[in-house]
Symmetry: C2
């Protein structure tokens, strides 16, 4: 059997987005995985902000969007990011002996999450899932499936029950 060594310090990356699903996943992980008896756990709240290119593509060569509009969109995007991060931080506010950090990166969520997990050297990645149906999942792909297949560390996928 492989010796995985004693767990000393754990970096737990929790991917959060605008959905309730990721807040549920964070809450579940705090209750079930995060150790509140020691000061060895660090939770990193990671938010992937849609990148500027999304707007640029819409804008196109015709420069339909004025710089005012682009600035408004960027302001909105930043406000959403701040709001999501604040909401997630509130979930963590009662944690004792656990460090909570935040990280906002721009780009496709799948790439942002995989890159961040590697860069941080995470011990665990926690993700919610939107629970798309079979058809939608087949066409859209799934962020959680992609990350589960591509990151090297353990991945905890938490599905929000329909009843709650």
């Amino acid at each position: 059997m492989a010796d995985i060594g004693a767990v000393q310090e754990r970096k737990i990356v929790v991917a959060i987005d605008e959905g309730e699903e990721s807040i549920y996943a964070l809450t579940w992980a705090i209750k079930n995985v995060v150790s509140q008896n020691s000061s060895n756990d660090t939770i990193i709240l990671l938010y992937a902000k849609p990148q500027r290119a999304v707007y640029s593509t819409l804008d196109g060569p015709g420069n339909l969007f004025s710089s005012d509009v682009i600035m408004s969109m960027e302001k909105y995007s930043k406000e959403v990011a701040d709001c999501v991060i604040e909401k997630a931080k509130r979930v963590c506010k009662d944690l004792q002996n656990v460090k909570v950090e935040t990280m906002i990166e721009s780009g496709d969520a799948r790439e942002v999450i995989c890159d961040a997990v590697e860069k941080i050297g995470a011990d665990l990645l926690v993700m919610g899932t939107h629970g798309y149906g079979v058809i939608k999942r087949a066409f859209l792909g799934s962020v959680s499936t992609h990350c589960a297949q591509n990151v090297k560390c353990p991945v905890l996928i938490v599905k929000k029950p329909k009843s709650s």
Copy 2:
């Protein structure tokens, strides 16, 4: 935020097979998720035994396999199951205050695991992953991906690092 309630008793299903990957996943889960301070966790070691139909197909209408051969194959299959379960139980032997149960079911691993998780009412499913490459995964599918997409409870996928 959804209230997920206090964790009282947890049923943790760990899918095990012949590979080192599932033993690594079990070990990781014990060190990182299973609570050894309370007697509220039950680990259910679940093994999916290839079903009889596999041999029947090989046998075909020509009855190439005598009943002796079929009996030998079934005996071998049972011995493999016992061996895998024993190996997993040894990993759990030092656990204090944690109940360990075993479950062997015949059938396709994906169906066996999804059915068992639902039947048991598991709070968490833990799985290893063989880490197939992109091509192999695309054609063969992946037990862990299938289960992550289909079970209702949280799923922890633990990939064995190449170095260990």
